[in-house]
């Protein structure tokens, strides 16, 4: 093994796919996953509204240098079509649900679907993300919502792992990144974070894409979302789950169609796919 490359123990499992933003938590997730998986597939997505989609590529290079290029597979792809299909009529659903956070929901769900298709095409049984409970809370960080996503992926014999969900505060997560020489902190943003006004803003912004369409609703993921009137624009977890349940119906059709277009019948594919082992116990900071 080349000098300077990190390997804590011999990994026992093959491949895992990660929706990779290049930020603090997904990078930390990759470090934890590499302790148990031979290869991590980093999926960088552009939802069609992204600026600086190339930003995580520097981070990918750092990870390759640190852990070995053969262990880091990277793909950058668009999720615009998937997202548009899942989102349907944004305008009508804004009025129906009363919250612009349905855009976040569908963006994230679109990335889950893209990762799911990636795994089905390549015979991968594990997917992971960088959700962390210390991030400012909206529905997508609530365990009951995350478990709904887990159950959806489990329908396709895919286990969804969340290895950094309980991984302490931001300082300790950043310290681990620093230990691996991967901290790309912008100090001025760290200071803004610590003031508590915009705790959701990422100090690793240099290595992350930005969502252009999301800028106007940035307030709804900050503490200001609890202000009178502004809080009415939020999406309570129960409502988010109900909306997601609707979207999952569309997603199931989409998955079947995508596979059919490749000449693969979903039922045959699922019959061939092995049930994944439950790997959650390997990640003590993960969501059970």
């Amino acid at each position: 093994m080349p000098d300077g490359r990190a390997r804590v123990s011999e990994p026992r499992y093959g491949d895992v796919a990660v929706s990779f933003s290049g930020g603090l938590d997904t990078t930390l997730g990759v470090i934890l996953l590499l302790e148990h998986f031979e290869r991590v597939h980093l999926n960088i997505y552009c939802n069609g509204y992204c600026l600086r989609v190339h930003s995580p590529h520097g981070r990918v290079e750092q990870l390759r240098n640190r852990f070995g290029a053969e262990r880091i597979v990277c793909t950058t792809s668009t999720t615009r079509q998937v997202m548009d299909r899942v989102l349907g009529s944004y305008s009508a659903d804004l009025t129906r649900t009363g919250s612009p956070l349905i855009f976040d929901l569908c963006c994230r769900f679109g990335m889950e679907l893209a990762t799911l298709l990636y795994c089905l095409e390549r015979g991968i049984s594990y997917a992971a993300d960088g959700l962390n409970c210390a991030q400012p809370v909206i529905f997508m960080l609530e365990p009951e919502y995350i478990r709904m996503a887990n159950d959806f992926l489990a329908e396709y014999k895919l286990q969804f792992l969340h290895p950094v969900y309980h991984f302490g505060d931001r300082e300790s997560r950043r310290a681990l990144l620093e230990e691996h020489g991967l901290n790309q902190e912008v100090k001025a943003i760290s200071w803004v974070q610590r003031t508590g006004i915009l705790p959701q803003i990422s100090e690793q912004i240099a290595s992350q894409p930005l969502c252009y369409a999301q800028t106007p609703i940035f307030l709804l993921t900050s503490p200001l979302r609890n202000l009178p009137v502004l809080r009415k624009f939020g999406l309570p977890t129960e409502q988010a789950k109900a909306y997601r349940a609707e979207r999952q119906v569309i997603a199931r059709e989409l998955i079947r169609e995508r596979l059919q277009a490749m000449g693969v019948e979903l039922d045959d594919l699922l019959a061939r796919r092995p049930e994944p082992d439950d790997l959650r116990p390997l990640f003590p900071h993960g969501l059970e």
Binding site: R80, C133, V229
Partner: protein, 61 residues
Amino acid sequence: MTVDSGSAAAVPPASVGQPPDPAAARPWPRSVLGAVEHGIYRVLRVPVFILLEAFRRYAGR
């Protein structure tokens, strides 16, 4: 935030065993404020949603 709804479900609500909330006995100021807030939201959301949809289309063009 419910960090883990599984374990949180086993914890009784904070109000159990506590004296009744005095504010609950006079609900009208709350509901009036709530109605005002809701009214502002209903009026405000029309232009907000139009602007958001316009911005989304512009951003995604």
